[in-house]
Amino acid sequence: MRVEAIPTVRIRDLAVRLGGRDILQGLDLDVQKGEILGIVGGSGSGKSVLLRTIIGLLPKFSGTIEIFGQNVDRIADEEVQALEKRWGVMFQHGALFSSLTVRQNIQFQMRETLNLSDRLKDEMADLKLEMVGLKKSDGDKMPSQLSGGMTKRAALARALALDPEFMLLDEPTSGLDPISAGDFDELIKTLQSTLGLTIFFVTHDLESLQTIADRTAVVADGKIVAAGSIKSMLNHPHPWVKSYFCGKRGSAVFNRKLPA
């Protein structure tokens, strides 16, 4: 089918300027349908800025962003709203609404956009909770009562509420212990294969990059300096890529699989 050929996100020559400083400049990136793309880069390199620009939280200075084949500058506000229902965003600190219970957080978008019976809404919320590995009883908790790992899971459940085709995750495993982070990686992988999601995630975590990413892109100097499989990263000439993937921590993760 021809539809498959259109990338979920297509970014060309993107520039973002914040406070008179160029954060991103001349950035090109495609996110293919059904892939898990991991974005890495140093602190302050603009990974999160890229994510926030894609979802329209930050204004871009120039360039084009096409999502599901639609140029976001050229379409009307209602169409942008329709686009927003097709993606789910998980923020770094969860960004759960603190005055609502976890269940109400998950149901928030359902309540506003779908005309569902109360029973179905409750069942769907429970289903999403179970999908992310939370208990039904956790749904009645307030966000302030959750541990770090549970907050991440609840945030993921909320992002999944409307069955988006495209998920954007901002540092999904940051602040989790290695075991929880590993579980969370598994969870993302499972959800992706079950629901056929396209996933764009920003991370610092080499481990999760190796476990779940189909493709990795590196942000440095305001653009994507390298994109491809982890294997191709290990031989890349760019100094930051080299020190990231072949440095002490990188080697520890990537060479483990090789025979000693």
């Binding site: 603190s98 005055s99 569902l116 179905l120 069942e123 289903l127 999908m131 409307l162 069955d163 294969s193």
Partner: protein
């Protein structure tokens, strides 16, 4: 397009067909068709759900299919899907596992009730309102005592900064409000007293009222709304971000570092602003007396000098630091009670202002009794 149809064939075989897009958008249509289908299956003795012509399926649709399957299933009939497309297999498999454990959190709140239920809110109120207030009251006094023993530990910079915020920056609004209220009282006085020919006594009334009550009350209410609320919000968000816990672990006492300077500053700011506010109110009433009531400036000042004694001045001023102390203690106690959520921050900020204003008025009443008892 019919999303869900059912048909009974001979021999009690029921064939349910799902077609079209079983997605979130259509979920309510699908769900409303359930009742008919379920009624139909009552007569059936074997049921099959056919998914051959399904075009789209998401978790909503998958769950509805699973729910349909579970609801049709009876002890004697096993319901199966037929014609499952390969891309939907994983999703249906996942959904089939869900919700099987019906264990939900037990509601144990009823077991804990020892007191009669109607006493609960009252006890809670007593505990929350009074205990927290007096606990903070005691901690501030203790911190003040420690400060007197070790004056070198006192935080001068913080105090000066707070005086700038609470006192100096509040001056414009305080002067404006008191000036206008002074003018309004004078205008009303002259307007109504003129009928009895009691113009001159209006000046006496203005003098007592402003020096004893209006000056300090107005300033207290402005400061409770302006600085009390900001102290609560400030300390509350510090509590939320664990900054107060950080201070504690570094060996600082949050009461000494954060709260004592704020309370002391309010005790300095209130008398100072009361004095200036009263002057502005007298000025406002003086303007009205000369411009509206046609009194000469000399006459107004003469009457004022006769009416106001040092006692009236002190009655207003003595109250001020006590009221400042109470506003500070309430604002800080509320701030430290903020829990994790933003809603709780808003709630305690409101509580802080409401309680401060309430307490200011109660204290003013008590002082009025006290001063009349000592004939001041």
């Amino acid at each position: 397009m019919a999303l869900l149809t059912g048909r009974i064939e001979k021999g009690g075989y029921c064939k349910i067909t799902a077609d079209g897009a079983w997605t979130a958008k259509n979920a309510h249509l699908i769900e409303s068709a359930f009742a008919d289908i379920l009624a139909m299956t009552k007569a059936a003795n074997s049921i099959r759900i056919d998914l051959k012509s399904l075009e789209e399926l998401d978790t909503y649709g998958a769950w509805l299919l699973e729910r349909l399957r579970r609801e049709c299933t009876r002890s004697d009939i096993k319901v199966k899907f037929s014609g499952v497309q390969s891309q939907n297999k994983i999703l249906l498999g996942e959904v089939a596992q869900l919700g099987l454990d019906q264990s939900s959190g037990l509601d144990d709140s009823s077991a804990k009730r020892v007191f009669p239920y109607y006493l609960d809110p009252l006890l809670k109120l007593l505990k929350n309102e009074f205990l927290h207030f007096f606990s903070m009251f005691g901690q501030v006094i203790a911190a003040a005592a420690r400060m007197i023993i070790h004056p070198a530990n006192y935080r001068i910079t913080s105090t000066v900064y707070q005086i700038d915020r609470v006192c100096w920056k509040a001056l414009p609004i305080v002067l404006m409000v008191t000036f206008i209220i002074g003018a309004i009282i004078a205008q009303q006085g002259f307007f109504h007293f003129r009928r009895f020919g009691a113009d001159l006594y209006v000046v006496d009334m203005i003098g007592f009222l402003i020096m004893r009550e209006i000056g300090v009350l107005l300033v207290a209410i402005i400061i409770a709304g302006r600085s009390g609320s900001s102290f609560t919000a400030e300390l509350g968000s510090m509590k939320m971000r664990e900054e107060i816990d950080a201070l504690k672990t570094m060996g600082f006492d949050p009461v000494q570092v954060l709260i004592l300077p704020r309370v002391l500053v309010l005790m300095i700011a209130l008398p100072a602003l009361t004095f200036l506010g009263s002057v502005a109110a007298l000025l406002g009433s003086g303007f009205v007396a000369t411009l509206y009531a046609g009194m000469t400036t000399e006459l107004f000042i003469d009457r004022l000098r006769d009416a106001i004694t040092m006692d009236h001045f002190w009655v207003g001023m003595i109250k001020a630091p006590f009221i400042g102390f109470v506003i500070g203690v309430i604002a800080c106690a509320e701030g430290l009670q903020v829990k994790g959520s933003t809603a709780s921050l808003g709630q305690h900020t409101t509580q802080s202002v409401v309680k401060s204003i309430f307490m200011v008025i109660i204290m003013d009443g008590l002082f009025a009794l006290f001063f009349s008892a000592i004939r001041m």
